[in-house]
């Protein structure tokens, strides 16, 4: 084992798979120079045929990736900023995602979309977390919280025969951790208990997993035991694992960076009320992005995007009446 950054883990698994599989190419804006840090040095190894810089044409190149996938390639498409997904929404959700079903399984679309998330004083059109849109679009949706998970899940995404979208959470992709050198996969749809506990199940996504772990560490000193469930895959999320956890704790707080209305947290809450109601000792609580665009001024942004530890700690106290 060696310590490497989250982003490096993503980068090296793609690189190793590209060496093995000539049908993979990497496409996006400014990818030759690895502006977002993923295909660093790839251009020298794979050349401009497989590291394809595109014009600023998100809908066009996403559609091109679909066409190439239909003809047997396995494209990886990088969106420079997550909100650029909106420009290619039809190409992803209405085309790539539906073709296999609509064609009576004649067409496969094995594309991987890599989408770095952002926020932090860049506001409005640069700070959305569009993952819930993709979940509702029935797109296999991944949001790894650690470099270890990212490495294994990105490889599963590339090898999957359906379109898969991978969201790389804001603010944590520079973190270092122990990651094996060899290639490995983590199955899509399998969650992970990141910390065991008995009082409350915290469902957290992406960067908020780390915030939940931090809060759990703090609260342990006060005798409060949080279990942290990281779905890792948002669609489909691991229901049996969550059910088992809630059966034990009877209390749930869900944290997610997408909007409150119809966001991922709403879907998890709906599942719990449908199928785990009898285990619940308290109402399900959600900590989410507020239903306004992310404002610019930091003091305002803090009202809209949860910091994580603070809001969770307060919600835990409220739930346990402390």
């Amino acid at each position: 084992m060696r310590e490497i950054r989250y982003l490096k883990a993503v980068s090296e698994t793609i690189e190793a798979e590209m060496e093995k599989d000539p049908s993979i190419f990497y496409m996006g804006e400014d990818v030759r120079y690895a502006l977002k840090g993923i295909p660093r040095g790839f251009i020298d190894k794979f050349g401009p045929e497989r590291i394809i810089d595109t014009p600023i044409s998100e809908a066009g190149f996403t559609g091109i990736a679909t066409g190439a996938a239909v003809q047997g390639m396995r494209p990886i498409v990088e969106f420079q900023i997550s909100m650029f997904c909106f420009l290619a929404f039809d190409e992803m959700v209405n085309q790539a995602q539906k073709l296999y079903y609509m064609s009576g399984n004649r067409i496969k679309v094995p594309v991987t979309y890599i989408v770095p998330l952002n926020f932090g004083s860049i506001a409005g059109q640069h700070s959305d977390s569009p993952h819930s849109f993709m979940v509702q679009g029935l797109m296999k949706t991944i949001m790894p919280a650690t470099g270890y998970d990212a490495k294994g899940l990105v490889l599963s995404a590339i090898r999957d025969d359906d379109p898969v979208i991978v969201f790389l959470p804001a603010g944590i992709t520079g973190r270092k951790s122990d990651i094996p050198e060899e290639q490995y996969t983590i199955p899509i749809g399998v969650g992970d208990i990141k910390r065991e506990g008995t009082d409350i199940t915290i469902v957290a996504t992406g960067r908020l997993v780390l915030k939940a772990l931090e809060a759990a560490e703090n609260l342990e000193k006060e005798g409060i035991s949080l279990e942290v469930y990281d779905p890792r895959t948002l669609f489909p999320f691991d229901k049996p694992l969550l059910r088992k956890s809630v059966e034990k704790t009877g209390r749930v707080i869900i944290m997610d960076d997408s909007t409150r209305t119809c966001g991922f947290a709403a879907e998890v809450a709906a599942y719990l009320s449908d199928e785990c109601f009898s285990f619940l000792k308290a109402p399900i609580k959600r900590i989410t992005r507020a239903d306004v665009p992310v404002p610019f001024s930091l003091i305002l942004e803090k009202q809209v995007v949860p910091e994580g530890v603070k809001e969770l700690t307060e919600t835990v106290y409220g739930m346990l009446k402390k």
């Binding site: 066009g60 025969d161 899509i188």
Partner: protein, 328 residues
């Protein structure tokens, strides 16, 4: 001989034109009787484009057709019995009853995506050094969509083996192309991407074939994409459902004028004028076409419906336990 086609091939072109038209007319008839559900967008009148393109393709070439091009599928050699079965929602339909008329493979029900899809297929061919060409078809309506222009530009800068073929039938539902573009010829847009653009008579199967063939071979030889505009006309209304609205966006005279240029009558006339064949030869083909269509319809009628549970069986190529979920 017409061009490089001998008598047999000339008659086969007539058969393809006829098959393409009769297939689509039959779908309308079955739609009217309630045997085919949903909407239908037929390209009756546009057969010269459909058959002209089909003739220009070589093995391994691929077309991304519009929602008005199901007749072209027949011209490309797909057995109409699987298409009728699909339109009737049967299990042995071309897409197991999951797609319907607007979502047959190689057809998109959303406009403008064929250009990116075809460019993507062409990118795959180029990366693998295959001498194959992709054709991306679109109508005058789709010609104003962003993704189409984006992908044409990328196809141009990457010199992809793709040909964009515009079926300009004059109307996007009710909106005339004369309203939605100032250009006389939509092929002029090739200049914007630095690629050749040509316009041909889309009611003349040989004109379409010759131009398409030349541009497809040009793309195959590595010279990059081109735009081919075929000026054509649809005789029927936009769709089965809009036909009932009786919207007066075009005159009966206009329709009658275009019908004088009919592709099938034109080709038949040419074969007779040049004494390639006799009227009896053509009648024989007409009979054969009717028989093929009737047998195909019977096949579809006798095909079983899907099992209700089939709605949930075909969602993902790599399956994951627990999905898809049912709604209740």
């Amino acid at each position: 001989m017409i061009e490089n086609f001998d008598k047999e091939k000339c008659l086969d072109i007539y058969r393809l034109l006829k098959m393409s038209r009769r297939f689509e007319q039959k779908t309308l008839e079955l739609g009217g009787q309630g045997e085919i559900l949903g909407s239908l967008h037929v390209g009756v009148g546009q057969e010269a484009v459909h058959v002209g393109i089909a003739l220009a393709l070589k093995d391994g070439d691929i077309t991304f057709r519009t929602h008005r091009d199901s007749g072209q599928m027949v011209a490309e050699g797909i057995d109409p019995k699987y298409l009728f079965a699909e339109l009737m929602g049967k299990i042995n339909g071309y897409c197991m009853g999951l797609g319907g008329s607007m979502h047959l493979p190689g057809i998109s029900g959303v406009l403008g995506v064929n250009a990116p899809m075809a460019s993507g297929a062409a990118l795959a061919f180029k990366l693998r050094n295959e001498k194959r060409v992709a054709v991306g078809q679109y109508g005058d309506g789709a010609s104003n969509l962003g993704p189409l222009h984006e992908s044409m530009n990328m196809a141009a800068i990457w010199k992809l083996p793709v040909v964009f073929i515009c079926e300009n039938n004059g109307y996007a539902v009710t909106t005339s192309i004369k309203y939605s573009s100032l250009l006389e010829n939509l092929s002029d847009r090739g200049k914007a991407w630095g690629i050749p653009g040509e316009t041909v008579d889309g009611m003349d199967v040989m004109a379409v074939y010759k131009a398409a063939s030349r541009l497809i071979e040009r793309a195959r030889s590595g010279e990059g994409p081109a735009i081919l505009e075929c000026k054509t006309y649809r005789y029927e209304d936009h769709s089965k459902s809009t036909a009932n609205l009786v919207l007066s966006y075009r005159s009966k005279d206009e329709i009658a004028e275009w019908m004088k240029k009919d592709a099938i009558a034109g080709w038949a006339g040419k074969l007779l004028d040049e004494k390639i064949c006799t009227k009896a030869d053509l009648d024989k083909i007409d009979e054969l076409v009717e028989k093929t269509i009737e047998e195909a319809v019977e096949f579809a009628r006798n095909s079983p419906l899907p099992e209700p549970e089939d709605a949930f069986k075909h969602m993902y190529a790599t399956e994951i336990k627990g999905i898809p979920q049912k709604g209740w």
